[in-house]
């Protein structure tokens, strides 16, 4: 097996390089799950409390964002853990696998370090094998932590159920490690491989939610469905795990087959020659920023439009189910007796705005990767000033946020016009989505300010987004204090179409965003370029 020579050494090397990164991922996921679960006892002390909670979640929106709701009729702590923690934890685990695998396979080839490694006595398949070994090991480590930790965190969680929960999670992690390995064989760019694999995550999640919402066989198409179908803590079934193992093994076999064939540094998707001359648009810093980011923006835009269509399409159904739930009905009355469909649409708008914040941050941070890759340097040696250069990337980020919101509003609006026959829904829902633009600009401003002030740590903007998402999703479960919600710019946006539009918070958000952008521009103008 000469093609595997050096695998052990590479495994040690990967562990050495990623010892911090990997521990952070595993511990963050484990502690989020265990911490949330530990808080259940206090938040829902009685069976009646839990039952109320189950009723609130037992509707299409719940099935979309949370789990399929096994055990809703007897909502034990275990059922609660499986239903409310598993789907989101599974996404986190999938992303962990993808980043880990692509980072040590395609990214290494792209930056040509792999050539150095392969020039040493290291077999053709060694890097891939070593990476997958570490990825699977990380999943097993996390599973072990959870299997031991879950019963310890909350009385009433059975060992069998905890094992099923952890196994389900590991199944998802292993599947996406395999799929990421395939994606890494396809493209030349690591960015592209991550994009393909992330789309697989998004698609699988969507398929699972649609399948659960209508309880169709569709949920069996998705690895996320296999995880929830193990019915941890309710009625454990182990065979869905075999589906995960089979898919993972199949994916790895495909990746290995391609890896064996292809040359180092090349992908399967062949490079075609391009235009010998630049199009007219490619003649300014903004033209370049547009060119670099247009593919990303288009993908996001199409996804947001489809997401909007989907949410808009099920709003009516979600609303009719709301009406059957007394607890929710009471809640709606309390906050102003809005139309339940509107309630639901307002919720989806804020969730998509949170996702759009991800676009805005990565788009601003593109300036940072340009700088770090020494591509900003020759640009800034032409008569292009610092402000104009950074401003071009900011325009893509801030303008792009409008495009995404518009796409989402268009999607929900069109779907609602079709289902209600009321043409007024379209402008109303576009408006509801666009109301989030100033809040997204605050995220862009934050990333810009970090870029200007502490370029090497600019990725901290992601940390801020993660904290805000964490508070948003788990805050109600953890019963966090009200002020913690106010940290998020999204929280200050009038929740159209439920609430009335008010201009003051929008102006304040815009002003904050402008101040942060200004800070970023000034700080960047005054500092050295840094690699």
């Amino acid at each position: 097996m000469t093609s595997l020579t050096g695998t052990t050494r590479l495994i040690r090397f990967i562990l050495r390089r990623d010892r911090v990164r990997l521990s952070v991922w595993v511990l963050a996921i484990a502690l989020s799950v265990l911490g949330s679960v530990a808080s259940f006892a206090e938040t829902y002390p009685t069976a009646a409390d839990r039952q109320t909670r189950a009723e609130v979640l037992d509707n299409p929106a719940g099935q979309l964002f949370i789990g399929p709701g096994y055990g809703s009729d007897n909502y034990t702590y275990g059922a609660m853990t499986a239903n409310e923690m598993l789907p989101l934890a599974a996404v986190a685990v999938a992303l962990m696998s993808i980043f880990l695998v692509v980072r040590h396979t395609r990214a290494e080839e792209e930056n040509e370090r792999a050539e150095l490694v392969r020039a040493a006595p290291v077999g053709r398949l060694a890097p891939l094998t070593a990476t997958l070994t570490v990825a699977v090991g990380a999943q097993l480590g996390l599973a072990a932590l959870l299997t031991i930790g879950l019963p310890a965190s909350l009385e009433g969680l059975s060992t069998t159920g905890s094992l099923a929960f952890s196994t389900a999670l590991a199944g998802v992690g292993v599947v996406f490690a395999g799929l990421a390995a395939v994606a890494a064989q396809l493209t030349v760019a690591a960015r592209g491989a991550i994009g393909i694999a992330s789309m697989a995550v998004g698609g699988a999640y969507l398929v699972r939610s649609v399948g659960d919402m209508n309880d169709t066989a569709l949920k069996w198409v998705s690895p996320f469905g296999w995880a929830t179908e193990m019915r941890a803590y309710v009625d454990e079934r182990w065979w869905p795990f075999l589906l995960s193992v089979a898919l993972a093994a199949g994916a790895v076999a495909v990746a290995v087959a391609i890896n064996r064939q292809r040359d180092v540094g090349f992908g399967i998707i062949a490079e075609r020659p391009g235009p010998p001359r630049a199009a007219r648009a490619l003649g300014s810093p903004f033209g370049l920023a547009l060119r670099l980011q247009r593919a990303t923006l288009s993908w996001w835009g199409v996804s947001f439009f489809v997401l909007g269509l989907l949410y808009g399409g099920i709003a009516q159904e979600a609303a009719s189910l709301y009406e059957d739930i007394d607890a929710l009905e009471d809640y709606l009355v309390r906050i102003g007796a809005a139309d339940p469909a509107d309630q639901y649409l307002a919720l989806t708008a804020s969730v998509s705005a949170l996702m759009a914040a991800g676009y805005v941050i990565q788009s601003v941070l593109r300036a940072r990767s340009e700088e770090a890759a020494l591509r900003a340097e020759p640009m800034l040696a032409t008569p292009v000033g610092r402000h104009r250069w950074l401003g071009s990337h900011l325009m893509m980020a801030l303008g792009g946020s409008i495009v995404l919101l518009l796409a989402f509003g268009l999607g929900t609006g069109i779907a609602r016009v079709i289902s209600t026959g009321d043409a007024g829904e379209l402008p109303r829902l576009i408006g509801a989505a666009l109301a989030y633009a100033p809040a997204l600009w605050v995220f862009g401003g934050l990333a810009a300010a970090l870029f200007g002030l502490v370029p090497r740590e600019a990725a901290a903007a992601w940390g801020v987004l993660a904290v805000i998402a964490f508070i948003g999703f788990l805050g109600p479960i953890l019963q966090l204090p009200d002020w913690s919600y106010d940290l998020s710019p999204l929280e200050h946006v009038p929740t159209l179409p439920v609430a009335d539009f008010s201009v003051a918070p929008e102006l304040v958000l815009t002003a904050v965003a402008a101040a942060l952008v200004g800070l970023g521009l000034v700080a960047f103008r005054r500092r050295d370029l840094q690699t």
Binding site: A189, E271, P273, P275, A278, G283, G287, T382, V384
Partner: protein, 307 residues
Amino acid sequence: MAAAISISNLIKSFGRTRALDGLDLTVQGGEVHGYVGPNGAGKTTTIRILLGLLRGDEGHAELLGGDPWNDAVALHRRLAYVPGDVNLWPNLTGGEIIDLFARLRGGVDRARRDDLLQRFDLDPTKKGRTYSKGNRQKVALIAGLASDAELLILDEPTSGLDPLMEVVFRDCIQEVKAEGRTVLLSSHVLAEVEALCDRISIIRLGRVVETGSLAELRHLTRTTITAEVAKPATGLAELPGIHNLQTEDGRISFDVDTGRLEDTVSHLAGLGVRALTSHPPTLEELLLRHYGDEPAQAQEAVAEGSS
């Protein structure tokens, strides 16, 4: 002509490393100025400060009569830069990148661009990520040379080029020179520096340790002499300015400080010279004196020679 670049006592530190440590450098308008020195000496740092990408900590730097940091945009209209580490956008073609830079500087000169593409034998339809190292370098070179900027700042522009392309590059720089434009050429290819440069500055540990035309630099150092003499080579070792003396039945060879050449030759005449060759130090020999671990000795020799 006025100085295109003038730097005095420039200091730049990165944390604890002092990249530039009181650097003085003058490049006259219209000259091709070689900028040489060992790895990590501070060449790229100097250039980045001249381009306003880094800001000097102390000292003074002036570029085309302006301040490199404050007047960056205006100055950049008048210069072109070829970086040492060329990183292209992976999904833009070479042709697109060349056009982009031309437009940022004010417009594409089609004829010039196509001529350069042909001379450097570059396929402009390939994507950035698929070029070989040398071809990436060519993209940056063509983008720089396609402009008619009055000052070219080139940081190791020929690293990775094959010998044929090296010749093309030299021709291009000769043309630039003939047009009266100024070039700052940082390079490790000494033959290139020797062939192209009017004046040379040698940088070591963040300071320029010598500057001048090649002839001047030679004058400040030693000439190597080999001779066959009839009589035993007595007294030679005692003469001042003689180094590395070796004698082997009638054949002697040594280095002599160029300032002591006259005394040495008259002493040799007394020994009955049968054959004599002398050659000035090559640029390589000159530089190795500065690159090595013994800068003190080299500087001493310079001080002695010029006194």
